[in-house]
């Protein structure tokens, strides 16, 4: 990391820390929470989807395990909240090893389909085991913070984003990260030069799952009540992937940019266009695919490279 980047990162942290002095309304803080939450989730997804090139469309599984883990370990087994959070994260890591073990034997769209299938199996199991999960009715999640709730959750989301960003920055320049990118570019070539592809992929999915599970637990704890169709829904998986791809899959800052734009846009669309907001959202996706296939940060990078040459 260069000195300039370090200074920029510190300045960004300071700005995020000072933001609640200006923004004090709960609604606005909750919108900011959502932006940072999805920035963190997008960054976590990006490790697998962007750097390693494995398009997961089942990250709702880890999000949901984080949410349900917190709720069930605390509510059903009486574990205190913070250890319950840790157990939820551990559960997500275990699940990621199981999912990775099966899904990583598959490539391309098959991998994506397998991840969706896992998330859907979990959602249906959660719906159909009312004694354990509360079923369709849902279950209560414990509050992680007391007092100044909106602000605390905002800070927690910022912290999670910073963590995810640090992991991403490390992955972008470490040996491990180069393994991942080699797998993305050509898995067979990577194998032939001695990269243990399966271990690298399972490890990165475990890291991604852990971060995603923390996000899910934060979400559950802010809303205090969760149902399967909300925290284990395909929509969550899609939104996480779209945030990262809109900003630029495989770039360090892409998912943050994507989260800021997409979450702000969907909040504005919801308020202005009401029922038409998904239509506008769909059109936005089409425009990105047609005109910004590398995402926003990716397109800026290409533009800068061309300028440098010209």
């Amino acid at each position: 990391m260069t000195r300039r980047q370090l200074l920029l990162a510190l300045a960004a942290c300071a700005a995020c820390a000072l933001l609640p002095l200006v923004v004090q309304k709960d609604y606005q803080l909750n919108v900011l929470f959502r932006i940072f939450l999805f920035a963190a989730l997008g960054l976590a997804w990006n490790l697998v989807g962007g750097f390693t090139g494995q398009l997961s469309l089942g990250h709702a599984a880890f999000f949901g395990i984080g949410a349900y883990g917190l709720a069930l370990f605390h509510g059903k087994l009486g574990v205190p909240v913070w250890p319950a959070l840790a157990l939820a994260v551990a559960a997500a890591v275990v699940a990621s090893v199981l999912i990775g073990g099966v899904a990583f034997r598959l490539r391309g769209p098959y991998f994506a389909l397998a991840t969706i299938a896992f998330a859907e199996v979990l959602r249906n199991v959660a719906k159909n085991l009312p004694d354990v999960t509360g079923g369709d009715v849902g279950v209560q999640a414990p509050p992680l913070f007391a007092g100044a709730i909106s602000r605390s959750f905002y800070f927690a989301a910022v912290g999670l984003t910073a963590c995810s960003l640090a992991v991403t920055a490390w992955a972008a320049r470490s040996r491990f990260g180069y393994y991942l990118m080699a797998i993305r570019e050509n898995e067979d070539t990577a194998l032939s030069v001695g990269v243990n592809a399966t271990r690298s992929k399972v490890s990165v999915l475990a890291i991604s799952a852990a971060l995603t599970a923390v996000g899910g637990a934060l979400y559950a704890s802010l809303f205090l009540y969760i149902v399967p169709d909300q925290v284990l829904a395909i929509d969550i998986s899609n939104e996480i992937a779209i945030v990262a791809m809109l900003g630029g899959a495989g770039t360090v800052l892409g998912p943050i940019v994507g989260a800021i734009i997409l979450e702000t846009a969907s909040e504005v669309f919801k308020n202005v266009f009401h029922e038409a907001h998904l239509l506008i959202y769909g059109v936005l996706i089409l425009l990105v695919v047609l005109f910004l296939p590398e995402g926003i940060v990716g397109a800026l990078k290409t533009l800068r490279r061309r300028r440098g040459k010209g």
Binding site: L55, L57, R105, R107, L113, I116, N124, L279, P293
Partner: protein, 291 residues
């Protein structure tokens, strides 16, 4: 004995439901299996087919068992336009982009329908719905028998199209090698556009046939998108007949699951089978192709 008969009844009901799944799956087999377009809007297109048939019935009083032709024509035309307007432009890019694009199309379709028709559930009522055919202790619902017959004709037609017609042969050539095919004088985009149109026409027909025996709301297609993928993978990529067989299998499995475990487990069982097959036999149950 009663247990046995209820089992037989469930298997037969499953085959009837499965025949509609088969039509959905065959459309997807053409689009995803043969053309390799990862179509996450498949269910949304089916939903559109249902609404077209619904409008024809409500406004023009056309029986859905004729109205599905309208749905097929409209979706076929839409498929042709979408291929040339959108999918063709990203033909050379990664699967990522196709997934994103078709997700976008699905959102636009289902929200467009929501804005036009509202979120209410609809159901149509035609006299055929109350008719049953009795065979000893087995009772079969007449509309399902009609749709089974139509699905069977369609399945044979599609199979012959892909295996026998020159367009079908060109399509398989593209699937084998998309770089060599144009060198043999095949107009890749023309063939792909027509096949995509045909895949959507099939799912439009499935929608039309499903309308009388199901209920209608803007999100009705969502559950069928994943099922369609499941069928294509179970059937073996690129195999139209395999997808049809997988459709029938899913129908029976769901029907038996409902009978012995309860309806709510049907989807979970579908996906569990899907994962099991993917991990043990990635070429699919009925396929021989390597993935």
């Amino acid at each position: 004995m009663d247990k046995l008969w209820s089992g037989v009844q469930a298997v037969l009901n499953g085959l009837l439901t499965g025949s509609l799944y088969a039509v959905i799956g065959m459309g997807m087999a053409l689009i995803f299996g043969v053309m390799r377009i990862v179509n996450f809007a498949h269910g949304a297109f089916m939903m559109l087919g249902m609404y077209v048939t619904y409008v024809l019935y409500e406004r023009a009083h056309i029986n859905p068992y004729f109205g599905f032709v309208g749905a097929a024509l409209l979706l076929g035309a839409l498929g042709y336009l979408i291929y040339h307007g959108l999918l063709r432009r990203i033909a050379e890019r990664s699967d990522f982009m196709q997934i994103l694009m078709t997700l976008g199309i699905a959102l636009i379709l289902s929200d467009g329908i929501l804005l036009t028709f509202g979120a209410d559930y609809h159901q149509i009522n035609i006299p055929l719905l109350d008719k049953n055919v009795h065979l000893g202790r087995i009772t079969l619902n007449a509309p399902w028998l009609v749709s089974f017959a139509i699905a069977a004709v369609l399945a044979i037609g599609m199979f012959l199209f892909v295996m026998r017609s020159s367009l079908g042969r060109a399509l398989r050539a593209i699937a084998q090698n998309r770089y060599a095919a144009p060198l043999m004088g095949i107009d890749v985009h023309r063939v792909q556009a027509l096949s995509f149109a045909m895949g959507l026409a099939a799912v439009g027909i499935a929608g039309g046939l499903l309308l009388p025996v199901f209920y209608l709301y803007p999100g009705v297609g969502d559950q069928f998108t994943l099922k369609a993928f499941v069928m294509v993978v179970l059937g073996g990529m690129g195999s139209i007949g395999g997808a049809a067989a997988a459709g029938l299998t899913l129908g029976v499995v769901e029907s038996l699951t409902s009978l012995y475990w309860g309806n709510e487990w049907a989807i979970a069982v579908d996906f569990a089978i899907f994962l099991l097959v993917l991990s043990l036999r990635p070429a699919g149950l009925f396929g021989s192709q390597r993935v």
